[in-house]
Each structure stands twice: as structure tokens, then as C-alpha cells.
Amino acid sequence: MTALLSFIAFLILWQSIVWATGIRETLLPSPGSVVTSFGEIWGEGILWPAIVDSLQPLFLGLVVALVVGIPLGLLIGSSGWLDLIAAPYLWGFFATPRIATAPVFILWLGLGFQTKTVLVFISALLPVMLSCKEGVQTVDESLIRAARSFGAGRFDVFRRVVVPYTLPFIANGIRNGIARGFVGLLIIEMTVGRGGIGQQVIRSMGNFDTARMFAFTAVLMVTALFLITLSRKLEAYASRWREEVYL
């Protein structure tokens, strides 16, 4: 509940600054006008379609990233050869923010619903793959040896030791994938457009309607935080049998 108090204090501080400095609406709107704006976009029927326009490609891209990324990551982790081959590419793409590839995508795919989904997919794929790969590669050797001592073959070892061991890593990959996918989504929305909350933010900024911009930004923040918190909880649940604490 300190969070709530803190938030209220923050609002009070905000309002005070607006009153005290008499700052322009276009630079810092008062909390009140933001709330009004919020009501407007809800009433005008802009808010909901924007949300849908954002979440739809997000989920689609994420799902495909998981379907492709998890098996691929597990595979690369299992094979020394595949790892060797894929390593430089994985590394190169991981070190580079996906944002860098955005202009290329924008030019490539023209404008269409698919652009967003594809960029979400690409953004999310890498963290998912990387986490899965890492999970497989850090499996405790002694567990594998124990399974083998009972005569388990490659497939059994994989199914009964590697996969359960890797689940927390997979969940971690999902969490990162969601975060990066979200970013990929926003890049498109904030540059090219194609609907969605991000586009609305930029649009209201262009109209100097800062209150509305704040309103949409708040929606973005809430959505982002909600998704990320959800995925963190999922990760914590998947990791419940692990003893170590991770950052």
C-alpha cells in the first residue's frame, strides 16, 4: 500500500508543479486534463480499437516466436555443431538492438498488418531461442548421468531430464520475448503507424494534444507493465523448484 500512497503523492506533486509554474498545457498538462482526455478517447471509441490494433499483432507474433523459437533453441542447445554454426549470428543479433533492423523491415514489407506481426516475431524469437539454448546447455551433468545409469537413451534423457530442467529457462525466454516483442511493436507504431496505441501517442503529439498523448502513454505503460509482470510471475512459477536466486 506504500505504492498507492507513493502514487498519490506523485499526483499531488504533479498538480502542484502545474499550478506553481503555470506551465503550458502543451508541455505539461495537469493530471485533471489527462483524466479528461482519457474519458474522451474512451467515449470517442478510439481507445479500444487502438488497443486491439496493438495487441493482436503482439500476441500473434509472440505465439509464432514461441512455436518456432522453443524447439529451435532446444535443438541448438543440444547439438554442439549447431551451436557452433549458429553462434556468431545469434551473438550478432543479440548484441544489436532489434530496433536497428526496423528501418529495413519497414522498407521491405511495405505497410500492412503483417509488418507489425513479423517484427514482433523477429524481436521475440531471439531471446526465446537464446534462453532455451542456454537452458539445455546448463543442464546438470550429474542428473544426466543418473538417468543414463538406469539405461535411459538420448530421447529419454531429453524428455525426462533436459526438458523439465529447461522449463524455467523457457519461461525466462518467454518473459524476455514478450518485452522485446512489445518494443518491436512500438517501433512500427511510432514510426510508420499502422494503428495501435503507439501511433496514437505520436499522432496526439503531432496535434500538440499533450493531455491525450499522456493518456495514451499511460495506457501503454499499464499494458507493458501488466504483460511483463504476468510473464515474471509465470517465470517464478516455472522456477519454483530451483534453489538458486537469479537476477
Binding site: T2, A3, S6, L27, S78, S79, G80, W81, L84, I85, A87, P88, Y89, W91, G92, F93, A95, T96, P97, I99, A100, T101, A102, P103, V104, I106, L107, W108, Q137, I144, R148, R154, A179, F182, V183, L186, I187, M190, T191, G198, V201, I202, M205, T210, M213, T217, L220, M221, A224, L225, I228, Y246, L247
Partner: protein, 274 residues
Amino acid sequence: MSATAESTAPAPKRFKGRKQFTRKQRIIATVINLVLFCFLWEYGVKFFEIKPIILPPFSAVVAEIPEMYEEGILFSNLFFSLRIYLTGMLFSIILSIPLGLLLGGVKVLDRIISPYLWLIYTTPLLILMPLILLWVGINDTARVLLVFISAVPAIVVVVMEGVKTVDNSLLRAAKSFGARKGTLFRKVIFPATVPFIATGVKMGVSRGLIGLFVGELFSSAKGIGYIIELAGKVFNMPRVYAMLFMFILFSITMVGGAQYLERRFSSWRSQASM
């Protein structure tokens, strides 16, 4: 009796496990890999008749680099981006390390400031970017600020955790020798936190890169993003790719360097840091 028995019995199933490669093997393999990649790119494009507007051949992309050099835009823009990045990173490191140490050590501050820190850390930068552009304008300061804002939370969070996890038994041992708070900090907490600082800086480096490129994308006056945007407008794809490639190289260098530093400073830790 001993040697012959093996040949008559059925061959034992050897469970090789994952193949381990030596460092040298990895390096050689990587080089071959990349060379192969370049070849495939070059000839694959011609073979599959991919339109150069989608994917230009490797040679065209590489050719752009000397061309940009001729035009005098290659290094100037690279350095511009580099300057912005390093300025932002410098400020963020200077602020974050003491801030992280402080927040990790002083519980009250931690409780007050942490939620906001966490908020900034978790919120994708792109959400905050319009606000920054609104208040600071579309200029170089904004870009430095973006790098700064991306890097700071990452570094602070890691350093904070580092301070908190300093082994209590170490502290107790030092205190039993009569160490006072200042000495305690200097001789026990700080050295123990160094690996975390190194890790934090590493995370800050990659986050900062994101901040850099967001800045490049939206407020490009000069820099890598500027070239890409310019080239994109006239559909000079080879140039777009060439600059992109430069950016990738840049990123790899930065993150690689940070990782190296991280390992150097974490050498006494038995557990691998992240």
C-alpha cells in the same frame, strides 16, 4: 584374452554427450562460417534473383563503405553516434554506480526510490521516448538523454543487488576486527561489489545501445541513423545495409568489450556472473 574380447563383443553404445570444442576450433569455425555466409549472400541473391531493393548482393553492400568514405560521411557520422553514446554512457556510469551503492546500502532510500526505478527499468524505452522528445526537443541532448535513461536503471539495479548480497558473514568478520562504517565500506563492501558493477555496466552498455538507436531513429541530425534514414528515403538499400552492418559491428564491440571487462573483474567469483 584382453584385447581380443573387445572385438568379438557387440560394440558398446557410446553416449558422447554434447561435443566440446576448443577455443581455437571455435574461432576457426566462426571465421569459416562468416566467410560462407558472405558467399551465400553474394551468390544466393543472384541465384534466386532477389530484387536488389529487397536484398542487395554482398558486394554492393561492401562497396558502399569505401564510397561513403569518399563522400566523407562514413567516419564523421560514425563518430557522431559514438560520441553521443559514450557521453550518455559516461554520465550514466558516473551517476549509477554511486546511486546503486547508495540505494543498496540505505534501506529507506531503497524503499522510496526503487518503485520508480523499477518502473523506468521495466517500461520499454519507446514508451518514454515521446515524453523526452516533447520536453527536451529533437536534438543531440535528447539523444544523450535517451542513452542515459536506458543505461542508468540497468546499472543501478544490478549494483543495488550486489550491495545487498554482500555476504553478511564477511561483514561480521570485518566488524569483529573493529572496522568502522567507512572502512567497512571501502574494504569489504566495495571490493565485493566490483563484479556486480562490472555486470551492471555490461547491462548498461546493451541498454544504452538501444537508447542510442531509438534516438537515431527519431531525432537524427547526424549519425548512423541519419545515414540510414537518408539512404532509405532514396531506396539506396546497399547503403542502408552497410550502415546497419556498421551498427552491428559497433554493438558487438561495445558489448564484447563490456563482457571482457566483466570477466576480468569477476575472476575471483566461482559462479559465472550473468
